[in-house]
């Protein structure tokens, strides 16, 4: 045993602390250089030259599966780096997975500080996924899962067959392994689980627009989006509820405005009279006495006639005595009734009304010309006419209400159509949406 005192002779130096760096090894199958980035964590590596699977869990570097395939090109190549959510990630692995006829790409991202993430591309839609270390009971069986105050709705149950792999992985990836999977959505988030005999892996994904991925990894062309992704946000995602709140608030406001207008309106008759016109006087123009419209307002003209299978038409001209400007309106009344095989019937109305909009203040009179079926029979025409000014116009109110509701209604239709498209891909659509085919 060496008992030399450290102060005598040369002072032994502690070994130099090494800087962390990737590990290189020779592929036992083809001799090509294999580089491991996640040193100490990576367990399976696929040789970039011959595509053989190498076990790098310990220093034996055993070949798990020998191959002689050429490596496949992928949209994101191994070794490229991109910045997402404030962290730089390096692509170190790629798997192509398949369920039936439809397949998708999964990229393994690595950062030695933050760990691993997955970037998944499916029909042009992208998701950034993080494995969760949380126990979520019922995942894979339940129809909904609550996590961090959000409700995740079951979207699909299926399988994920591993079809092709390249790069390195921190688990024993096997081509042909086929774990069962389940996805739960709460757009833009998605809670997924993958289960095989040994373990269950739960992960949380966030929907990414292709532009975000393209910007992060400096890609020029991205696969085109097809359809609606399970966790893609619906249009007006956050604003939808608020939109309706605002609409209701303005409806209340409009109601108050209208009620005030109704209270304040004069609603005054400026003329009201009954007429009996002899057929001999049918060509005479009736003139009402002069009346005053004291402020700019609307004018409501109502007419009615006692009709029995007959008609009566008034052509009324409201004339401003100062300016000679006139407003012409027609009041057509008719009433027909009788019996037939279906019973009693009636047609037409012996009463009619019309508004004249924004009549300026001034002195006015109305000139009335009468035409009636009675005259043809050489009978007198009986009718009454009333003229009011400053009448609350309910139609204004309803038109405004309709216009207020128009936008939220359109948004609702768009959203419903979007959600329908989303859930048409799922076997677990909530009742209000149509389900996908089995």
């Amino acid at each position: 045993m060496d008992k030399s005192h450290p102060s005598s002779g040369a002072v032994p130096q502690p070994p130099e602390k090494s800087k962390g760096k990737p590990q290189t090894l020779k592929c036992p199958a083809c001799g090509g250089i294999v580089t491991i980035k996640a040193v100490g964590i990576t367990v399976s590596a696929i040789c970039a030259y011959c595509s053989s699977f190498i076990d790098v869990a310990n220093e034996n570097y055993q070949i798990i599966k020998k191959a002689h395939e050429k490596i496949r090109e992928t949209l994101l190549e191994l070794g490229v780096r991109g910045r997402l959510f404030g962290v730089e990630w390096e692509v170190i692995g790629y798997t192509e997975k398949r369920d039936g006829n439809w397949s998708w790409d999964e990229y393994l991202l690595y950062n030695p500080y933050y760990g691993f993430r997955f970037l998944v591309e499916n029909q042009g839609h992208w998701n950034f996924i993080k494995v969760l270390r949380k126990d979520i009971p019922g995942i894979g069986d339940a129809n909904e899962i609550w996590l961090s105050g959000k409700k995740y709705q079951l979207f699909l149950k299926g399988k994920a067959l591993v079809d092709y792999v390249k790069g390195e992985f921190y688990w024993r990836v096997k081509k042909g392994e086929c774990p069962r999977v389940a996805d739960y959505v709460a757009p833009p988030s998605m809670l997924s689980m993958e289960e095989n005999d040994e373990e269950i892996i739960v992960s949380l994904g966030e929907y990414l627009e292709p532009e975000e991925v393209a910007a992060a990894f400096k890609l020029k062309e991205m696969p085109r989006k097809k359809g609606v992704a399970s966790n893609q946000s619906a249009p007006y995602q956050g604003a939808f509820f608020k939109l309706w709140i605002i609409a209701v608030a303005f409806i209340v406001l409009a109601t108050m405005v209208q009620k005030t207008a109704s209270k304040v309106a004069d609603n005054a008759y400026v003329f009201s009279s009954q007429f009996k016109i002899d057929f001999a006087d049918q060509d005479k123009t009736i003139s009402t006495p002069s009346f005053v419209i004291p402020k700019k307002s609307n004018v409501l003209i109502q007419s009615s006639a006692s009709l029995d299978n007959d008609w009566l038409e008034l052509r009324l001209s409201l004339v401003n005595e100062q300016t000679n400007k006139e407003y012409d309106i027609v009041q057509a009344m008719e009433y027909y009734h009788g019996y037939d095989s279906d019973g009693a019937w009636s047609e037409g109305s012996p009463y009619t009304k019309v508004f004249i909009s924004s009549v300026p203040m001034g002195n006015y009179r109305a000139l009335i010309d009468v035409d009636a079926g009675a005259f043809i029979k050489r009978l007198p025409a009986n009718f009454s006419v009333s003229i009011q000014r400053d009448v609350p116009a309910g139609s204004n109110y309803w038109i405004i209400i309709l216009l207020i509701l128009l936008y939220p209604a359109l948004v609702s239709v768009r959203r419903w159509s979007f959600e329908n498209q989303r859930w048409s891909e799922s076997d677990y659509a909530p009742g209000i949406y149509k389900t996908g085919n089995e």
């Binding site: 406001l253 609307n298 004018v299 407003y327 909009s357 139609s395 038109i399």
Partner: protein, 45 residues
């Protein structure tokens, strides 16, 4: 986007108030149920 909707609704409310105050009736204005602003040369017939 919500802001634009608030502006839009505010304009509608203002239109309603203005119309009521000045006697405008939208249905009559836009359906031509009145043939307005003719200058009469003489009384009819």
């Amino acid at each position: 986007m919500l802001k634009k909707f608030v502006v839009y609704c505010s304009v509608l409310i203002i239109m309603l108030a203005f119309a009521n105050r000045n006697g405008y009736v939208f249905t009559s204005m836009f359906t031509g149920s009145q043939k307005a602003d003719k200058t009469a040369n003489h009384y009819h017939k």
